[in-house]
């Protein structure tokens, strides 16, 4: 019978502990869930980007990824399902000095929140939107999402998903986002550098990050989390500046990662100040 490790550990401080509400750790995410890794990459990027952390706030919606805001030891807002982007728009427009990060999931941002995403990108509100895409609605037990692959099994598509998923970078580019990238939670160093870049860029920056959901997506589709990570390692290719229309997700072929859009459209506030304010 294996023994419980009885060690009285003196207080060990993780390098990121000052940005985490350590009184709420261990967090609620499942063993093998990728959200914690993406969150950790985001924290590292926030530090290395040099932005004023006191003026930085995180807004999230509902879902597993949405719980991220609750663990950040800065001003954070856990809002209603799908409405993180308009909430963040209000924050940013009322106080343009704030650095606003939206950290939410694929269901929250693209199903119920789809319209708000499109308009946030169209207006080019200065914010960084990190979408953890686990291809499913995790928190509610594994229902089909707008990003679920065709034929995948979920609790509301028990015989297989009939619908095609979104191509998120294409949607973001078409709506007007200034910066669009896609990574997986395995490509952490690239992801961290990407988030750092997005945080210092102006305008609407969108980063899609693929992450495993072992408990819901993984179990129903017979994919252990380590297998998902191996897919991320073996079935992806980094090709920057590819046309977003070629970025459909097909795990049978190959998933393209990288930075796809990097432009300098003026931000929402710049446009408003130029057009609507009398100098």
């Amino acid at each position: 019978m294996a023994a419980e490790i009885q060690s009285s550990q003196p207080e060990i401080v993780h390098p990121l502990d000052h940005l985490i509400r350590t009184d709420r750790i261990p967090h609620i995410w499942c063993p093998g869930c990728g959200i914690g890794t993406v969150f950790s990459a985001c924290l590292k990027a926030m530090i290395s980007s040099g932005i004023d952390l006191e003026k930085t706030c995180m807004v999230s919606g509902i879902g597993c990824t949405g719980r991220g805001a609750g663990y950040l030891n800065l001003d954070s807002f856990h809002t209603t399902h799908g409405r993180a982007i308009p909430f963040a728009t209000g924050l940013k427009l009322a106080n343009p000095e704030l650095n606003v990060i939206v950290f939410s999931g694929d269901g929250d941002l693209f199903a119920i929140g789809g319209n708000h995403f499109i308009h946030g990108a169209r207006r080019n509100v200065d914010m960084t939107v990190i979408c953890v895409n686990n291809l499913i609605y995790g928190m509610t037990g594994g229902q089909v999402a707008a990003t679920t692959p065709v034929n995948a099994k979920t609790t509301t598509t028990q015989l297989g998903n009939p619908d095609a998923p979104f191509n998120l970078p294409l949607l973001a580019w078409a709506s007007g986002a200034n910066y669009v990238a896609r990574w997986t939670m395995l490509h952490i160093r690239k992801l961290t550098a990407c988030i750092e870049k997005a945080l210092t860029r102006s305008g609407f920056s969108f980063i899609e990050v693929l992450a495993p959901c072992p408990t819901n997506y993984g179990r129903k589709n017979k994919e252990k989390s380590l297998e998902t990570l191996k897919l991320y390692r073996d079935r992806t290719i980094i090709k920057n500046n590819v046309d977003p229309s070629e970025l459909d997700m097909d795990f049978e072929k190959e998933i393209i990662l990288g930075e796809f859009v990097s432009r300098e459209r003026p931000t929402c506030i710049e446009n408003y100040d130029r057009t609507c304010r009398i100098p």
């Binding site: 419980e4 490790i5 060690s7 261990p26 093998g32 914690g36 890794t37 950790s40 990459a41 939670m185």
Partner: protein, 89 residues
Amino acid sequence: MKFLGEPYDTDVIKIAKGRVVIIEERCKGCGYCIEFCPRSVLAFSKGFNKKGYHLPVAQNPNECVNCHYCEIICPEFAIFSEVHTISKL
């Protein structure tokens, strides 16, 4: 380390030796650090923590070069690496 000829920058290049620190109560036994450590430093321990998860343990601690990969892949903020010593090539 044996070389055929002495590289010009042996005085400049330093190899870090790292030490892995594990915050036991946070670990959920996902195994990512073990799987993806480029130096195969870690392995699952036989014991488990209060929640019943098998923790990683440094089975080849001398191989650690403080690359921080376990630290950045961990979803739980449960592991990090730090400098142990710095030695010359």
